[in-house]
Point group: D2
Chain length 345, copies 4
């Protein structure tokens, strides 16, 4: 921590600040500049101290040195984390494709989509059973019946399954069938939920809160890691900005930034991040070119009858077309897109 | 709903869109313009239809007419809602002051603050027992012991109490002592939690999600109302913008906008909305001048030792000074600041 | 400047960074912490150095200490700047009201408005002759004829006049009649224009760029001050955020922040900052309660025929109503609203 | 235009609105819905009418149908615009690389960089002679001498040159040597400057204003097109958002959105859009994968001594490395990166 004193700070004020810091068992180094005094603090400060010092008379500002996360931080000389589910590895340099309907709507809709994405080379099947909807009057997902259908699709295609969890009371039910648990943007800072999934070993895909900085987002991952679950994937899905032509602003800057800051695998969701199906192909290619370890895509056999998010879902044909561009592009970048372990039965 | 067809839409495409709308039992009015065709849709559309239509070939855009909320909407010719707790009424034209520590840290800290704010005319005591912290390594609140201390402070001062609820599993415990339940910005779209507090009659102060539009925020209130609890207060607490000198951008534009859109009482939190104690007085006065029904203020007997959010807490002296300006200003605007029912014992 | 070295920085890298800083004639203080080394730099660094150091191998980050502006900075123990035009003083604790049409549209429109706002106590007449329009096909203002009408309105009412300048080639023409020159949000970082108005003595009202931080905005003022014109007023007019119910988000947090950072007078424009006439009264009162030295208001005798920005203009009646609330509120806060020097003839 | 009347609008109010619209020579179609009346307006409305109608009593909202730009709009059945300068074509499906120093600092710095980027396959040389700096105390560029050096570099390498123009009074001087004129983000809405470059035939690369929506940005291009210059390139360079880890948020969503909205070529600037050199490679690849017609890159022979923006400049080695990835990736997407016409002498 670096503390900058105000130009007009008195000697007594400066001494009080330094004394306060030393009372926490930390060392201080006083730097008397041309106009201002600076105190450099040596040692691990308690998280509260920064704000407390900022409040003391004579203090202009106090700045942290270094990131507040520990377990999520990029580790010197160690490999990045890779996470394996059902024969698929995410984070080892290859490109993982997670695809499926936004929401499970019916047996036929799910199985048709699952068969298609498996046949086209997707590695993981996505599908929501419990859905957070901005209106209480909208369809909220099929619930337990949706989970059962996901199990059937998994048995049929061999694809591992990712599905969303909304409520700490659902952990057992959802983790019973899911290979990856998804935490959505609206629950990114739902700490009781993060703590609950942190007690499991099931991998968790943590979406970025739409109003959260990258540092805040990594701190949400830190909750899960600190609770004991080392298998966290970070998923960029668009942030809130003044631009309204797209539903959100997909922040691909996050990909290289996360790669420097953390060892966790990085996934991008171009469907949510754009809100418009005709942008999804471009932004999927861009996400992989930027270095994402995987993509999460909404695919629907009949997007114009979808109960949720039809406007951003790819049709089966468009998904096929996208895969036809993604695979050679990734290979040209030295990144394999493994043939799916999936065996559609 | 208004559907705008693309210039190059074919007759078949236009007919398919119109047919799709009529299949939902809605009426269509075709408008053939100079360049484009527009379909006006008469009747209550299902929430899904807008996105479905946007996805159909030949459609340029589909726009909703009117707001998606019903119970929260301003009602023609009816009075605004006012909510009474423990002898205090919020939303009747008077100004309600809710003050107290961000977090209950000790018996002495809470009781000292409670006595002071009561004596200076605050109407409701705030204090957090369960705290959502961005770091898992930070102090998370005193929990059950904090709730017990709030009960003691309430008995001592006669002030009703507002405190935060984080987890749907805590509802009984927290609602057992709270006069108003607070839902924080990080849980603004935690729908299981909104549904749980919607099953009670205890008033709920719903903070705005830091990345949520005003319409999304009102839809969160709609969840609580639709679940059966009519006692919702909306609390503006700052949004995420590019400006970093303040911790958040307190959006006072929300006050006149909410007053047109909804009948619910409006509260402003200048402590969270600025993050700096020296801005709180200005922004509290501004909030009331803009028309807020109440303010929520962090006050601490010793802000530079506060375990949470000391940088934005008013000292006891500054709170006194603020009340000395707030009361005459509100009166000049024709808005009473009632003497507190509180009787400090 | 504080330089934080990366954990893995080598001794040679650290020495290279320190050597580079010393080569600029600055002093370095080395701080060897538990994990990281920090270099504190003593002396006035050249503006380029921060980015150059950030780029050196082994450097994690380099942070400035203190603000980059000098002339605009709040000065110890000195009074805030107040600016007088035509018998009106802005920045002396009183409240200055600048009102008039967004744009001069006709002689009658201007004179009717000018007479009304003068009679109701406005201190300065606003009106645009040259208008920056987002469409090349929209009305761009009356130009020279508009300036002539402003002169006539000034002679008629005695009110000093504020009008916008867009082009460095117009300086003589516009400064010939204007008592205050307005720089709009789209030209806030038009440095050739800032330099030109900096060569005058005419006061300049500098609006905040809609995408600019407060620090960047003050740096724009610094351009004018550095060019020799000490008479700068800062005008908050709303920033770009994700909220779209209002045209912009009026950032009233800027008022207390500017009051700490700079000695320049602070004006708020609630018409531009909201974009909706029915929000203007609330936000004008809020701006003054927050501590603004003045407000800039759009008033039109017939807003629903206005050629520009009718949606955000007050009618004459609404302006009267607003003044009836503003004056007693300001007085209750100890802030006089002087009777206008204006003598309508 | 679609006008939605408020639920409580009276018959007289509705008639007044319809009458007002008809008075402009437009046709109205009345739609009486379950709760609300809607008026569809047929014909080309004057730009002012939308706001005027919004202000009329009884009107809830008025929505435009279709984009406000004409010349910039994507044209049915016509090819996209491609622009040729000095043997290089931008917008024909190939990928154009514009590279060079942010700012011309010396003969040696410029020529070294120019030779290197030409040898590595860049198609156009960038370099600023007049620089808009946020501080009046920072280096403002070499001015006329910088232009002379750019001419020398052009003669040496055969590369066409792009350089920034700041001031309408510089048009002749800068256009005398530039093959492409660059308008920076701070001047994106400087309409006198847009009008001046619109009178030329020299291609103009128009950067997006950091606080501008895509529609506003296209309207800035419309200014240039309407003034007579058909050769406009749009350059995404990052927008202002709450994220501060990167200097700006590079909005790659803009690429597919622009491709639908306009026929103009699309360029991306990953150096400005990230502010960090180590992010530039990722985001350049992402920009091309998203479909950009070209990229604009800052390259410096010694970034840690750069006078401007060293933190975001690629070294010569890093530029070479980037080209080694870009070329095969673009080819895998079916997009040629032509061998430069450049002949370094």
């Amino acid at each position: 921590m670096i503390v900058v004193l105000a130009k007009q700070a008195s000697g007594d004020q400066i001494e009080a600040v330094a004394g306060r810091i030393r009372a926490e068992g930390l060392e201080t180094r006083m730097l008397y500049g041309v106009e201002k005094t600076v105190i450099a603090v040596i040692g691990h400060r308690p998280p509260e101290l920064l704000q407390q010092i900022q409040r003391m008379p004579g203090v202009e500002t106090a700045m942290p040195v270094g990131a507040p996360y520990k377990l999520a931080a990029q580790r010197d000389g160690q490999a990045r984390t890779s996470i394996s589910v059902g024969g698929v590895t995410i984070g080892d340099g290859s490109v993982a494709v997670m695809a499926g309907p936004c929401t499970v709507e019916s047996r036929e809709q799910l199985l048709t989509t699952a068969r298609h994405v498996a046949a086209q080379g997707a590695h993981i099947l996505r599908g929501g059973a419990f859905k957070p909807r901005s209106s209480p009057y909208s369809f909220q997902g099929m619930g337990a019946e949706g989970l059962r259908l996901l199990e059937e699709a998994k048995a049929l295609t061999g694809l591992p399954v990712i599905t969303e969890i909304l409520d700490p009371r659902q952990v057992e039910e959802v983790a019973g069938i899911a290979d990856i648990l998804q935490i959505g943007t609206r629950n990114a800072q739902n700490y009781p939920l993060l703590n609950e999934v942190g007690r499991l070993e099931t991998p968790v895909l943590l979406k970025r809160g739409m109003g959260n900085t990258i540092e805040e987002w990594i701190m949400c991952a830190e909750y899960i890691l600190a609770a004991g679950n080392p298998n966290v994937l970070l998923c960029e899905r668009g942030i809130r900005t003044f631009e309204t032509e797209s539903r959100f602003t997909l922040d691909l800057n996050a990909v290289p930034l996360l790669r420097r800051a953390t060892h966790l695998p990085i996934v991008v969701d171009p469907s949510q991040g754009t809100g418009k199906w005709h942008m999804v192909e471009s932004m999927t290619l861009a996400a992989v070119a930027a270095g994402a370890d995987g993509v999460l895509l909404e695919v629907h056999p009949s997007p114009d009858t979808a109960l949720i998010d039809g406007a951003q879902s790819l049709s089966l044909e468009h998904f096929t077309q996208l895969m036809g561009k993604l695979v050679p592009m990734a290979q040209a970048l030295g990144r394999p897109v493994p043939a799916a372990a999936a065996a559609v039965t």
